[in-house]
Symmetry: C2
């Protein structure tokens, strides 16, 4: 359908590049993989392990997590209920933009509220959203406590801390559930990759 | 440096994928190309023409413009001075994220204020930001008036309209200046691509 005109060494189309064009270029589908779970459950570690495997397989991926979002795009947001909701909304929108660009977008945020995750799902569009519940018992997460946050929360130094003084709403329709208290990182990542292969997202 | 462990058919690294890794995978550098200019100057058309050529050359690119930003990520923002500034800030942050993912990020927004564009430049980091001033005389833009906005602005139906009732601050250090009132779309796009080749961004 593109109206082509040759000019010097470049082919000019007048049709914009579509998501479908990009997926063909990349050799895989572009979806949002939304990791949710308690602090210390292993969301970010698992997302990066999946990314490493996808990258090695020649896929285009990117992980949005606290490191690249909280100090940049969402640095104007705090931890009030409204700000937490806006934090997740923006992440959902950015993840969707990445998929429009043909990139498999992974997000690794506690995202404790079902309603917020469902909004991210709606933005991505059904079939383009894989919710991964990174399940791990609270006491295991608290024992790991990689950033010392549970200790601070127990000492009352962090208000509204998920699992301690604020709720975590478990997913009731996650596409994938992994229990990192039981399975190794390799097993957990392979579970995610297996679902992506089964659903025809990757080869 | 990666600590590798073989598990089934997957190679596990414990080092995260870097921007450099992605640029090697893609065969080009990932930078922000920031198109700025009056409404009707041809920013979005030019960005999409450049994207088409880059895509045909096998590059990974994405255009952020009003169509995919104003109805999504920035739908909570209006046109007050504070909201305009926040609009451009978020676009700068998202463009930067795309480059971290190895994607050439193009943005097509009026972005009339030098200070806001300079903030986007600072976020991207020097050497990763190409400001393209899409120059076009106001009377030419007003004659084109593709969305009928100048007519509405002249009738007083749009307050603070850039070029009519709000200022446009011309770039004083743009990496690229194209005059779409003089040059064809093909010539304009080739000018942008030529600079990208000269600077070693693309082959």
């Amino acid at each position: 359908m593109a109206d082509k005109v040759k000019a010097t060494n470049i082919t000019w189309h007048h049709a914009d590049i579509t998501k479908d064009d990009r997926e063909k270029q990349n050799g895989h589908k572009a979806v949002v993989i939304w990791f949710t779970g308690l602090s210390g459950s292993g969301k970010s570690t698992l997302a990066h392990a999946v990314e490493n495997a996808l990258f090695d397989a020649g896929c285009r991926t990117f992980v949005l997590d606290g490191d690249n979002i909280r100090h940049g795009l969402n640095k104007d947001l705090g931890f009030s209920p409204e700000d937490r909701e806006e934090n997740i909304r923006r992440i959902g929108e950015v993840a969707h933009l990445f998929t429009q660009a043909g990139v498999i977008a992974m997000t690794a945020f506690i995202s404790p509220y079902r309603a917020d995750r469902d909004k991210a799902r709606a933005i991505a569009g059904e079939g383009n959203f894989f919710e991964v519940y990174v399940k791990c018992a609270l006491d295991v997460c608290e024992q790991r406590d990689p950033k010392g946050l549970y200790k601070k929360a127990r000492a009352g130094q962090i208000p509204e801390f998920t699992g301690i003084s604020a709720p975590y709403e478990e997913p009731d329709n996650a596409e994938i559930v992994v229990d990192t208290g039981v399975h190794s990182l390799e097993e957990s990542a392979e579970l995610v990759l297996g679902v992506l292969r089964d659903r025809g997202i990757i080869q």
